[in-house]
Structures are given as structure tokens and as C-alpha cells.
């Protein structure tokens, strides 16, 4: 039997009378490459926020490696291995790329509360951060302020910060959003080179990305799970096509 890294049981969240997501039974296996798609307002980002602990669910449970983490705050879930990126960049804009990554790593190592030695003495952190930037082809930008970088490379820093946390579950909220198509390959290449045993869930609108990357696809509509299957199955699913009718990005990409 497969062990599930991340699992939700009957997960739901209401905002007043609005049901944002409901009855989500979702499973993410170790090493998964899973895509979550759905029209705007389907509740995808709310779902991510429930997984990471930004929001508390109205009902249901979240399990990480079999352990109930429903009541844990965001910071503790990160320590247990759930990392995420944001749909809109949330970076330390005034700091250098290297320092952005170092802050995350220092936090992961539990050293960020130390007061009486200079951060610059943690050469282990600096070395590891530089090595990570190298694998993401960001080493040449290490000393630049994030705000000086083109948007595509800023998205890469977004990814770097999440990877710096050594997650076992990585949630990517539209990693290539807003990146000009000429630059989007640098993001996709980086995602493809992620360590194989990380369970990755990616929210994406761009069907090219979904089909290139995902081994399984879940479709969310109106706050509920609508369909799940391999990319081919989803592509062939008439109901899914109907949901996307008018937008028809699937046909445009693969028709």
C-alpha cells in the first residue's frame, strides 16, 4: 500500500455563508508530481491556505505522513516539511538574493533566534545557499537586490526560498504566473530538477506546464473536487472540457 505524504479528509472552509471549499478528500504520495487545475474562483488557493495553515478549516482534517496537523499553526507545519511558493511574489525585496535564501535556511536550522554572534559567521548557511543558487542558475545574481531582478528571475528566488526549507511537500501556487513566455522555461527547468522524493503539488493555469510536469491531475470546480486522473484521462474527460469551454486552453495546447 502506498504511503501518502499529505492527505485531507472531508476538508472544508466557509467564509460566512460562502462555501469556499467543501468535502475535499485529497491524497499526495511521496514523490508525487500532481497538478491542481480549475477555473478562477474554484478554491484552489483557499485549499493551499488550508494545507499550509494560513487558514483553519471549518471542518475536516489535514494529515502529514499520517499525523493530524489540522490544529498546527503555519510555522510548525513548515518545520514538519510543508513549504510553499506564492502566486504573487512575497520576497524580501530590499535584501540580496543570497540573503533571501539565507534567511529561510537559518530559520530551517533553528538558528534564527541566536542573538550573540554575527549571521555572517554561519558560513555553512552561506555555502549551502550559494550551492542552491548554483543549481537554480541564480549564482550570478546572488549579490543583487531582489527588486533589481527581472520578474522571471524573481519567481526563481520565490522557488529558491521554498527549496531552502528542505521540504518533503512542496506546494507551488502558479509558479510561472506573470513570467513572460520567453523566460518561463527557466522556472519549468528548475521545477523538473527538483529532488525526486519531494511530493509536489502545483496549481497552474497553463496547460502546457501541467502536461509537461504532472503525472496526475486533479480538477477543482466550485470548491469541490471534480475529477482526478492522469493528464490523458483528464484531457479526454468530456465534463472537464465542458467546464473549460470558452477558455479551452486544453484544446489550444493539445487539440
Amino acid at each position: 500500500m502506498t504511503e501518502f505524504r499529505l492527505e485531507t479528509q472531508a476538508l472544508g472552509r466557509q467564509f460566512g455563508a460562502l462555501i469556499a471549499v467543501a468535502d475535499i478528500d485529497f491524497r499526495l504520495a511521496a514523490g508525487a508530481r500532481h497538478a491542481l487545475i480549475g477555473p478562477n474562483g474554484a478554491g484552489k488557493t483557499t485549499f493551499i491556505n488550508l494545507l499550509t495553515g494560513v487558514l483553519r478549516p471549518s471542518r475536516g482534517r489535514v494529515l502529514l505522513g499520517g499525523r493530524d496537523i489540522t490544529g498546527l499553526p503555519q510555522a510548525e507545519r513548515v518545520k514538519l516539511g510543508i513549504a510553499r511558493t506564492f502566486q504573487i511574489n512575497r520576497l524580501f525585496r530590499g535584501l540580496s538574493v543570497l540573503e533571501n535564501v539565507c534567511i529561510a535556511m537559518t530559520e530551517r536550522l533553528g538558528a534564527a533566534g541566536a542573538m550573540f554572534y554575527p549571521a555572517g559567521r554561519r558560513t555553512d548557511v552561506i555555502d549551502e545557499a550559494m550551492a542552491l543558487l548554483q543549481t537554480l542558475k541564480l549564482a550570478d545574481a546572488a549579490r543583487h537586490r531582489v527588486s533589481e531582478l527581472p520578474y522571471g528571475r524573481q519567481r526563481l528566488v520565490e522557488l529558491a526560498i521554498a527549496i531552502a526549507l528542505s521540504p518533503t511537500v512542496l506546494l507551488l501556487d502558479e509558479p510561472a504566473a506573470g513570467v513572460p513566455s520567453a523566460e518561463s522555461h527557466i522556472i519549468l527547468d528548475a521545477i523538473e530538477r527538483l529532488p525526486a522524493d519531494i511530493a509536489v503539488l502545483i496549481i497552474e493555469h497553463d496547460m502546457d506546464v501541467v502536461f509537461r510536469f504532472a503525472k496526475r491531475v486533479t480538477v477543482m470546480v466550485g470548491g469541490r473536487l471534480f475529477a482526478e486522473g492522469t493528464p490523458r484521462e483528464i484531457e479526454a474527460n468530456a465534463q472537464v472540457r465542458e467546464v473549460y469551454l470558452g477558455q479551452s486552453p486544453m484544446r489550444a495546447a493539445h487539440g
Binding site: K79, R90, S96, T106, E107, G113, M115, I126
Partner: protein
Amino acid sequence: MSVAASSSGDASLAARLDNPAARVLMRRHRVRWWEALPWIAALIFFFAFPDYLSFGNELLVVILFAVSLDLALGYAGIITLGHAAFFGTGAYTVGMLAFYGVWSEPITTLAVAALAAGAVGLLSGLVLLRTSGLTLLMLTLCTQALLEEAANMGHDWTGGFDGLLSLSFSPVFGLFEFNPLYPTTQYLLTLGVLFVCFVFVRTLVYSPFGQSLTGIRENLLRMHAVGSPVRRRLVVCYAISAAIAGVAGGLWAQNNAYVNLSALDLDRAATVLIVLILGGYGRLYGAFIGAVVYMALEHFLAQIYPTAWQLGLGLLLVLIALFARNGILGLGDALWQRYRSKRAAP
């Protein structure tokens, strides 16, 4: 074998230093030669202007107060307009201990002042730092107003509106008397305390803890998402900042030999904010530059235009807000960068 290991260690060190980004991080905390200048200037002032030592004392206290605010506001991004709450707590702690003859040894009373102000910072921070932005600003203001009113109404203990006058302190180390006319002891004590507190704050802002405060200032949501216990960090920072503000207040009470409600009022909180913005926040030495410029302006403008000296200050602040968002030090930094890039270009 060990030789090989150590030489490869040297090689990786060299590689790190070769990388400009790593070099910046590894060397940022080093002491620069010019960092000695403020302390040399303070000692020169001591010998050159013996008649102005009370002015010097006031200046040093403002610097210390502004340094404490810089830790909270400049580094952690805690927007506060109520920092006088802690200055006042420190001042009244020292004042009441001395007035009622409980304890009058100057250095240990300052430590008690730090503890008292730090405790107020910790308790109020636990509540206040759940909020941010304008709400936080208003709540810090309220905390200060509550304390001011408590000091006003607790007349029997605090002297109310009149304050506590004619405080006396025992000699420092049992040797050096406080002399109200020639406050040399006060000056050297204040300078020494400022130095110790400044070194502490400087250590703090370059530490991993300080780095995480900067992260919180730069992007709160991201700090949550990298697993940082954000609120705990902010509360700790706020309490430390409050404790140092309390020391500044304690020194103020010792130097003046009185305490009154002005230690807790909005004017004092606003002044220290102006000083820090003037000099440049989030850069340690902004407090020094801001305090010197502010106090000098106050001194000289008040001599020339006794009734309207604040007009000049107001104009300067407008100019700073328009053209030098990062204060005088930030302006200096920008000009220096421009000069360097111009020299490097041709």
C-alpha cells in the same frame, strides 16, 4: 590527511570570499574605522566644552532613546508612536527608587529601570503585536497615554503633575559624586552606558535574530511561510527595545535630578521619531546624526528665533520627506554611491 583537509577548508573560504554576495554577508558585521568617530567626538566634547555638559548629557540620552527605537522601528518595522511609555517607565522607576530612599546607586537602578521598562514592553507587546499598521500605531499611543494618566493620578507615589524633585544619588562606584553644576560624572556615566547599550544593539542587528527581524520588516507573510515564529520574535525585540528606552529614561532622571510627566508625553515620543527619521532609520548611526542635527537646530534656532524655531525644523522635515526618505545618512549613502559609480564609469 589533516593538512589536506585544512587546505581544502582554506580553498572553500577563498571561494566564498571571491563571491561578492557571500563576502558582503560575511563582512557586514565587521567594525569599520569610522565607527570610532562618534565616541572620539564625544570625548573631545567632554574636554572642549565643559560648560555645555548638560547639553551633552541631554544629547547622549536622546541618542540612546533613538537607538532603542531604531531596533524596533528601523529593523523589525514595528510602527510605534508610544515609545515614551518605556522611557517614562525607566525614568519613574529611577525617580521613585531615589525619591523614597529605596535605592540610589546609579548603575544598579538603571538595571532595575531596564527590567521594569522591559516588563512593560513584554506585556504590552504580547497584546499589541497581534496587530499591525495604523491599529498598532494607535495602540502604542494609547499605552503611553494610559501610563501618563496613571502617573498623573497616582499623585501620592509619583508626585502627579509636579513630578518628583530634588532626587539624589549615591556616588558611582562609591567614588564619583553627581554634581548638578558640573555634571562630569553624569556625562561619563551616560556615555559609558550608551556605549554598552549600543554595542549590544549592534551585535543584535547583525545576528541571525537581527536578520530575521529584517525579514519580518521586509515581508511578514513570507516570514510566516518560512516557519519563523514571527510574533515571538517581535515581542522579544519590542521588550529589548523597551528595556533600552527605559535605561535612557533612567539616565534622563539621574541627569536632571527630577522626573515629571514630560517623560511620558506624546511630545517625547514624537521627538525621538523625528530624530530617527531625520538621521535615517534601520542603520544604527542614524540615531547619532539625527540627534546631533535635531539638538543643534533646537539650540541655535531657538537662540535666533525664540518663538518660531520649530518652523525651521518643520521645513527641514518636509525636505527630508520629499528628497531623502532614508534620512541624512541615506542621502549621504546615495551621494557616495553616485560618486563611486561615476568614478568607476570612465
